[in-house]
Symmetry: C2
Subunit: 254 residues, 2 copies
């Protein structure tokens, strides 16, 4: 039967790739490469580089590009329906590619930044294709070093405090400030610098961008003191590179 | 100067080791091996195995055993003071070992299960030694695949739901039930089967033990239906192996 591998390749540093991921990279027949409309060619190139490093030149493979349909604007009329249509378009595109480009006894792979379980849609799309039942396949998930752990490693800090909880959340949920009962929060997908709009009193921030790559940026300090510096560093880097991947930990001081 | 490496080696499967960890394993001169009083010889053996797999036989190294002082009982008189003494004993032991067993231009390593940032004390002890300032060293943290990501990968589930937060916490904090505002919770360090003592209504559980090893156990389902089966499987496996490492995700059904 067809097999799909969702391979977590770590958070930017090609050396984050695990032995298990290397074996999976050496084993696939077809690589599915999801491309967005703009700005992330460098991310596609980095993934190709990870494959090239670990795969023999002689082991040829087919690369199938899946051009992500443009996501609807948040201001679109009937946004939920537009998102549902967008998701279905994407699912159909992938389903078609699996059915027509992957032989019945072949293995296809998706390379996923960080870990495939964390704020990542590849697994959800694969589950949708499986639920539709029009093409038969099995799938496996290869865990990776997530950007959360890359962030704490580079700052050399623990993620949790002894006996305490940690929350990981999208930036939208931070708009109202720190969640109740939790003093350590990792924020993902913050395109708008939400950290600079909350009450900074008593909070430290540990911020990282392009973790594990030569462009890596690290900053930390009391949120009140460094929020504006981080905003400026984000803007400068984003203008220079055309894209920004960052994450941060907010930690309430004891 | 002396360097200490805290190497995350992933959650049980030797193939979780990253390229970065392999390079670090090949580079150290002295391996510090923390041993507990009972039941975890197998974990020490597994770590030695990870070193042996990735290091040439010819590259000899020194292994320094650090026997963890017995942790005080929770019922001990003046428990906080007893824990403080225990921590200081441990810090002194490690400090002494780094000062006397690691040459001034040598690299020492600690192998850490999962990721060094998550419910793991090695980094805290190293920070304490640094703060005391009696022995000079630098240190680096090599991130690893944490048991959280190993769990979700083996169950082939996302960790978060779209737009929602995830909380990671020790079992003690689960005693009162699910935390407010969060529908996805990963619980660590649950020696007492706390999942079976909370209101199971509307919750699913995804449980895993000895993740990534040949002894791996996976169970999932509505908490109300499977909690007792998981408790039984835990007890049986713990009796057979002498130790238990497990973790689980509690997920509120939509």
């Amino acid at each position: 039967m067809r097999e799909l591998l969702l391979i977590g390749i770590g958070a930017g540093d090609p050396d984050h790739v695990t032995q298990q991921a290397v074996k999976a990279i050496r084993a696939f027949d077809v690589l599915f490469v999801v491309t967005k409309t703009k700005g992330t060619d460098e991310l596609v190139e980095l993934r190709r580089h990870v494959v090239d490093v670990h795969r023999d030149r002689a082991e040829t493979y087919e690369a199938v590009e899946l051009a992500d349909p443009p996501r609807p604007w948040r201001e679109a009329p009937d946004y939920p329906a537009a998102v549902a249509r967008w998701r279905e378009q994407r699912t159909e595109l992938w389903e078609q590619a699996v059915a027509t480009r992957l032989g019945e006894d072949q293995t296809g792979a998706f390379l996923v930044w960080g870990d495939p379980s964390l704020y990542e849609s590849t697994l959800a799309v694969v589950d949708e294709i499986a639920a539709r039942g029009r093409v038969a396949f099995t799938h496996r998930v290869i865990p990776g070093v997530s950007s959360v752990h890359a962030l704490t490693a580079r700052h050399r800090i623990p993620l949790n405090r002894v006996g305490r909880a940690v929350q990981i959340m999208p930036a939208r949920l931070l708009a109202g400030g720190m969640p109740p009962g939790v003093d350590d929060v990792v924020v993902m997908l913050d395109a708008r610098g939400t950290f600079a709009s909350i009450d900074p009193d008593g909070l430290d921030i540990y911020w990282g961008a392009y973790l594990g790559t030569p462009d890596e940026l690290l900053m930390h300090g009391p949120l009140a003191d460094v929020a504006q510096d981080i905003l400026a560093a984000r803007e400068e880097a984003k203008a220079r590179k055309g894209w920004m991947f960052d994450t941060y930990l907010l930690r309430r001081r004891p």
